[in-house]
């Protein structure tokens, strides 16, 4: 009897302890509104979908704020306005970046780049976890898979972009065994040891992620706009990655596949495709970044009408590259519109207009550029380079691609375009020149030189202090920033910056 009472009392005590403990937990569990814990955020498909939009936002921020500026300022086509250019841009332009410049490119490209990767890894991990759930509707599976595919594409694109900035190009060593960047295909924890892998290993991840993304997106037959990742975007990026690897056959294959699907933007839409991005998307748009109602750091370095003027402007000699009537030349001359300030009206500026939307647009939120990550014209140039340099050395096929672009730009028939080429060297020069005409200021400049093993060369009329950087010079890539070096014992600095 006594024992029974003891047991009963003890269990009552335990039970009441349990009740109190439960009550305590209940009272202290508070959901922060607006911010959601990572786990609970991904409980619902809607959370995953919001994270999908967030991924695009992150890419937009990375490319607009850092990557496009890095590629062009360190590249060949810009002259500087020393008075207004920011300290970081000035140092980069003069190739004076050092490990301790943590307020600018070395840290910003790195930190923000990996931030995008983190978001991509979250989407992939939690998206796949959602897919493990039972009793999903077919339509739900499709919704989830699309976002997961976006995660794969983003992860590939970011590894590719970060690697471009911090590692020598793929062909720097015959087997790409030289130092690359960390390969992060998981959600890292604070204790994890993070170190750099070879470029070959980085490209393995890029290729496999892009294959995965492409297959999912192709299977799902999704209707997406050019502001979101599509299966064609995966193919187009695969073309570019293979071009960087100098895997000519695959580059040509993927480029051709995209060319067959995507018609070039017509001559009459060409300028508006850049300057009125929400009015005229351009039929060749594959993937461009939507900056609606946002801000653009490209505008702030290229707009000549700001009170301090532009920070950078095209080398004057660029104007001479174009034939008469080439619509692309018009994108190098800024003519203020009627609605603009008295102080600039009537003047003209040698400026990068690709990233300056018309200020007279009705909806204020659309007066913003939507820079291209991938567009059709690039595919013609990849195709040209791949077929010319591939085993067959098909120079005529390459010339045909260039003629297509020239004809479109000048508003004439392809047959009216004449090209002078006799050997591969000349053809490669023509291709490179066409790349400058077509793709300048779109985030290719420095990479287009070093991926081919060429020196970075600025023309005579460029006002830079340094006009030539040899291939392999450590300054053609960025140093790993000091904060990373200090916080991470496993991190290895780039040669030349140690």
């Amino acid at each position: 009897m006594k024992r029974i009472i003891t047991v009963a009392l003890a269990s009552m005590l335990l039970a009441s302890c349990q009740i109190i403990s439960d009550l305590e937990t209940k009272f202290l569990t508070v959901e922060s509104i607006g911010k959601s814990t990572i786990e609970s955020f991904f409980e619902e498909i809607t959370g995953l979908e919001a994270a999908g939009e967030g991924l695009h936002h992150e890419m937009e921020k990375f490319f607009d704020s850092y990557y496009f500026k890095y590629a062009e300022i360190a590249g060949e086509n810009l002259s500087i306005n020393v008075v207004s250019a920011s300290e970081g841009d000035y140092l980069l332009y003069n190739y004076e970046m050092r490990e301790e410049h943590v307020a600018t490119y070395p840290r910003n490209v790195w930190g923000n780049g990996w931030e995008v990767v983190t978001n991509a890894n979250n989407v992939i991990y939690y998206g796949n976890r959602l897919l493990d759930r039972e009793e999903l509707l077919k339509s739900d599976i499709l919704r989830i898979q699309k976002i997961v595919a976006w995660g794969y594409f983003t992860r590939a694109l970011m590894h590719f972009s970060i690697c471009n900035c911090y590692a020598q190009p793929y062909c720097y060593t015959p087997d790409a065994s030289h130092i690359g960047i960390p390969v992060v295909d998981y959600i890292p924890k604070f204790e994890d040891q993070i170190g750099r892998k070879s470029v070959a290993e980085v490209y393995d991840l890029i290729l496999s992620d892009l294959e995965k993304a492409m297959n999912i997106l192709a299977e799902g037959d999704y209707k997406v706009d050019c502001f979101h990742v599509s299966d064609v975007a995966c193919e187009a990026l695969l073309a570019r990655v293979h071009l960087y690897m100098q895997d000519w056959d695959n580059a040509a294959k993927y480029a051709k596949s995209v060319m067959d699907k995507i018609p070039l933007t017509k001559n009459e839409d060409y300028i508006n495709m850049f300057r009125d991005p929400f009015g005229t998307n351009g039929s060749e748009a594959i993937f461009r970044l939507n900056q609606y109602d946002g801000s653009s750091s490209l505008v702030s370095i290229y707009d000549p009408t700001r009170s301090s003027g532009y920070d950078f402007f095209p080398n004057p000699s660029m104007h001479n590259m174009f034939e008469e009537g080439d619509v692309r030349a018009d994108l190098l001359t800024y003519i203020p519109e009627d609605c603009e300030d008295e102080s600039v009206k009537g003047k003209t500026f040698n400026a990068v207009c690709k990233h300056l939307a018309y200020k007279s647009l009705k909806d204020e939120k659309t007066i913003i550029p939507c820079p291209f990550v991938l567009r059709g014209s690039e595919m013609y140039l990849i195709h040209a380079e791949a077929v010319a340099n591939g085993t067959a050395h098909d120079l005529n096929a390459a010339a045909d691609d260039i003629k297509t672009l020239e004809a479109r730009a000048r508003g004439i028939a392809k047959t009216d375009v004449s090209l002078d080429y006799s050997d591969l060297d000349t053809m490669n020069k023509l291709i490179k020149q066409e790349r400058v005409k077509e793709l300048s200021f779109e985030g290719h400049s420095i990479f287009d030189s070093i991926r081919r093993g060429e020196a970075v060369t600025r023309p005579e009329d460029c006002n830079a202090k340094i006009k030539r950087l040899e291939y392999g010079d450590h300054r053609t890539i960025l140093p790993i920033d000091q904060m990373e070096m200090q916080a991470n014992d496993n991190m290895e600095q780039n040669e030349g910056y140690r």
Binding site: L28, K35, H56, F227, K365
Partner: protein
Amino acid sequence: MLKGTVYDEGNEPLVGAAVIVKGAGKETGTTANLDGKFSISIPAAKNATIEVSFLGMETKNITITPDINDIVVVLKSDNSLDAAVITTGYGLIQNKENFAGSAYQVTHEELALKPAARIDNMLAGVVPGLTVIEDSTNGRPSVKIRVRGDGSLSASNEPLWVIDGVPIYTGSRTNSITGTNGSISPLSYINPDDIESMTVLKDASTTALYGADGANGVILVTTKNAKIGKANFNASVKYGVSSIDQSTRIKYCDAPQWLELAKLGWVNSGRTIENFPYQDNEYNSYSTTNTDWFKEFVQNGHSTQVNFSANGGTESMDNFFSLGYFANETPYIGNRQQRYSIRNKTSVRFSEKLEMMSNLSASYNHNDLFSLYSTYDEILPIFSPYNDDESYRFYNWYSTGDTYELVQRKFHANTLPQRNENENYQNTISAQADITLTWKPFSGMTITSQSGASFTNIYQATYSAMSNLSGLSDTGKNGFSNRYAVFDSVLNENIRANYNKTFAGKHNILGMVGLEMTDKKHPYLSASGNGFINDHIKEVTYADASTLKGGSNTSHTRSLSYIAHASYTYDRRYTLSFSGRRQGYSSFSEFSRWGSFLSAGATWNVHREHFWKSNVIDQLTLKASYGNNGNSRIDTSSSYGSYSIGTGSYYGGVAGAVQSSPANPGLSWEKTYITNLGATIGLFKRLTLSFEYYNRKTTDLLYSGRVSSVITDGSVMRNVGEITNKGFEFEVNSTNIKRGDFTWSTSINGARNRNLITKLYKGMHTGFFDSIWVEGACKDDWWLVRWAGVDPTNGAPMWYDKNGDLTYTFSYDDRVLLPEYSKQPDLYGGVSNDFSWGDFSLRIMFDYTIGGWEYFYKFDYGSDVIGSNMPVEMMHCWSTPGEVNEHPKFTYKRADLAGYNSTKCLYSSTSAQLRSLTFSYRLPKNISRHLNVTNAVVSLVGDNLYFWSPGQSRTHNSYKTFKFSDGMTRTISGQISFNF
């Protein structure tokens, strides 16, 4: 057998009054019961003396002759003893003499007549070890409070404010109010006239009861209570005029001086005078303009304060009621504060055992805000705020390049039109409601339930008018309107049982156990738009639809705690006390949600020992305490990792979500361990000396450290690192002269604090512009390049590099840690002198600071002379070879960074400030009778009357002029107060 009853003056039985029979060889004692009755045996046939005592009452000795066997004893409340009790919250009232902790109580007498704008800076110079850092930048004052130094690097260093038992929201980590544009301290919403006392808790034995919020000290505010008896009314009116003490302003050049300097700098930089940017033209006449911008922005301020209070009641019900109005127009035109406040405190006693009190208070506050242009005093004196036709000037014409070319430039610095045409105000309703139920089931036991709620609703409207530059948009959609609203609430429930009893006259037991639950919510929202038809419409609804923006957000935290306190005093000689709190906090993850805070203290009243026989030393009390508390005021959302949706992560106008912080499951609160040692010595019954030493060690310091950016780009909060604050405090209270009705008393307090960072994450240092956190160093030491003077041959600046070698090149790499230059003064505190003679009284209060260094970067030796005004010293820079001068050659756009962050910018903070001078006169009885009042007092008060620093001068700048970025505000006011 003697029987008796003990009452107080209000005929209330004094439960627990001690009765001791004296002089009978062996002392015997008893205590009065619930009805105040006692009985005690008296040695027969002999005259005996009994001593009747009660906390806070004057002790009475009564001779008992054998024929007396039933007496009534009435104890008078001892006003001198009022100060002998200390309130430490949760119903704990302790005798100061037996009190083991460190707490400082400021009574309403000391607070009376202080500037009433806000309650925090009333404590300046009064409490040892408490620093009030007043910073008035751009005409908007802000106040920071530090109790015994900075105990944290990343979490808040502000103390916790508790008003009548309910913690109030005083803003985030840095006192800023989330959700509004510009913060107004909630401590300005309280009418200081309602305050009975403020108690600052400093050591672990008192703050451990406040657990996770106690690490930076706790300030308890207790409001006035009703007194039983006839209704008593008080009314007072105070009016003051404030102005800026001109001698504390930075001395800048006037227009002719500036022109001379600017031209000198221009020419010295190799440019030619023909290209000087400011040449008279048809729009600007530079040679004839001489504007004193200070006068444009500053005028005399006015403050008015009207208070009325009533109190009184019966044994079953009493009431305290007050009304207050306060209006303050600061000297910085455009800044106005108005406060209408009301408080009602009613106690109802249903029976002797059951009582209910309601304490309701509310205030309506209207604040007009105008932030001065950040460097308004550096606007060039050659610019005029007006055009020739007296309209506001929006443009100036001058040259901006190295060759003269006249261009039109917007005159953004001229904010006068914005002050007059724009709108920026906050309307705040702040209300507090407490319901307290007390039940006294048996003698000594009190069971209390206190439910408190505190609400703050803020509405802010700002409008930038299109009639000036601030309201003009590049897109032509002119006029900018912003609306903000904050709905802040704190709900607090405290249930506790208190026990207080003295047994046999010798054993006093004080105990408390309780439960506290707190729920804090902070929702806020905003809306904005631009593009109005004219400047009268202003409301966001009527803005251009494409510009409309809005948003809302909420933060919500909860805390649950178990609290306990026990103390035992033997014979008023020895006291042991223990306090503890176990607290759970919703923001921390489950792994570290709960924290325990414990403390213990002991006191020894040496002078009460039988062996103590000294006519000199009448009090000698030694005390010690040790314990810990915590600091939870950090951004804690990261413990789970979070995703956030916000306008910041929209994509193409669609809501996108991004990770805002990675999961940080180990995050926990900082723990602070405080050792406190103290001694109080009383001499000749007129001098009291108290001294305290403390060692405050914070471990698990929240430190925002870095991991690889591959994991997360932001810094990560981690519990790593340790910091120690050591220091001492003293207070001397002396009654210098007491003769007839003349009294002169002096109170001096002082403190010193030094901190030391003992551990940091991975031993890594974190450098800032002029300071650095390094293991083994003091956080408050300056980190600067050492200045080596000016080369007399060419006027070039010189420094010492890292190795101590002379260099002509400034480099941040040459910054060294300078233990000889600490921000912390060697000693700081206050001195107050009180004189009273009959109906006159006079109080003079000084603050003083000895040692310590402050950094002011004001001399750039011409770098920016074309754009901004310069201090007058620049007129006397190096000019001829061979000249020995502390100021290098004056050059526009100099490249050598002269004047940059070197020791040249350090100024000793040794100084003294005449903080207040208060003179009061009580009108003679016959006059007050004539006025139909019982009491009438006229007072004259001067605040911030004078500031002194050793290097001060009429002609050049010194610490005195740099310390106050906007000058010291001096106030003269008069008050008349009636009781009836």
